[in-house]
Symmetry: C2
Subunit: 160 residues, 2 copies
């Protein structure tokens, strides 16, 4: 079952990320990413399709693509939880290969917050529930002033 | 100075990576990556250009792009050193933001080999030498038989 088919999840407007390396619109043959937010607990989910231009080992997704998706999703989740963050460190563990041309699901959550630091975790699983890749992130919150001209758009989108 | 301008470095034929998520030819507005090998000590270098489709924060490179490049370069270096590897873990530390439309340099090296595990490190620096991102990788060597139909092409390219 895809996250799009599940209840209690709010579809995120991906047009906000149109210039993103990971989820930009021009990535149609590479990655297709759709985020979903669960407002209840602030978890972020994603349906992901790995296209022929996301190759690492022949016929399988690039480890760097999996890392990039986890980095972005864990960061986006931070923003939806009203932590305007940038990445300090990600650690990515590779468990199984992800075949190209198939869909996977991502789920991520905040483990703890310590001052300006936000500690996150995320997992990418195939449609059989098998763990493909797991990740841990350490993010740091920025002062809202550092957003400059982007502050209003960000405030409207993330609601803070 | 770019690595292309330095002596003692052998330019890697990037056509071998044409379907890669990171260094494929269709990435012209996203990433442009050229690897160089130093046969003396097996270190791998890269000139990288970050295009407008590599965005993370507005006007800056996506952390996931930096992670993906380090993952690929550290793995490719393993193969050139005759370790046919896949990634087990990468840990990426973000130090400074990398502006889009600019070039950076990557250098990576093998720290140690322990049985089937290959431990690597890599750094991406801007043209002023400032550290943008550093990474550590843990890779595991595969039996050559697992390469199947790709074994001959790989053997010819990497010379083993």
């Amino acid at each position: 079952m895809t996250y799009a088919e599940q209840t209690g999840l709010e579809k995120v407007d991906m047009d906000f990320y149109r210039s993103s390396f990971v989820s930009g619109a021009s990535n149609a043959n590479r990655l297709r990413v759709q985020y979903f937010l669960r407002r209840d607990d602030g978890r972020l989910f994603a349906d992901i399709w790995f296209g022929p231009e996301a190759a690492g080992p022949p016929d399988f997704a690039h480890g760097g693509a999996l890392a990039a998706i986890l980095d972005e999703a864990m960061g986006v989740m931070g923003w939806f939880n009203h932590y305007p963050v940038v990445t300090v460190n990600i650690s990515i563990d590779y468990k199984s290969l992800m075949p190209l041309g198939h869909e996977a699901g991502l789920e991520c959550w905040i483990e703890r917050v310590d001052g300006r630091k936000v500690y996150t975790r995320g997992e990418i699983r195939n449609r059989d529930g098998e763990l493909i890749t797991s990740g841990q992130g350490i993010f740091v919150t920025l002062p809202m002033e550092s957003l400059g001209k982007h502050r209003q758009a960000v405030s409207e989108f993330y609601g803070f």
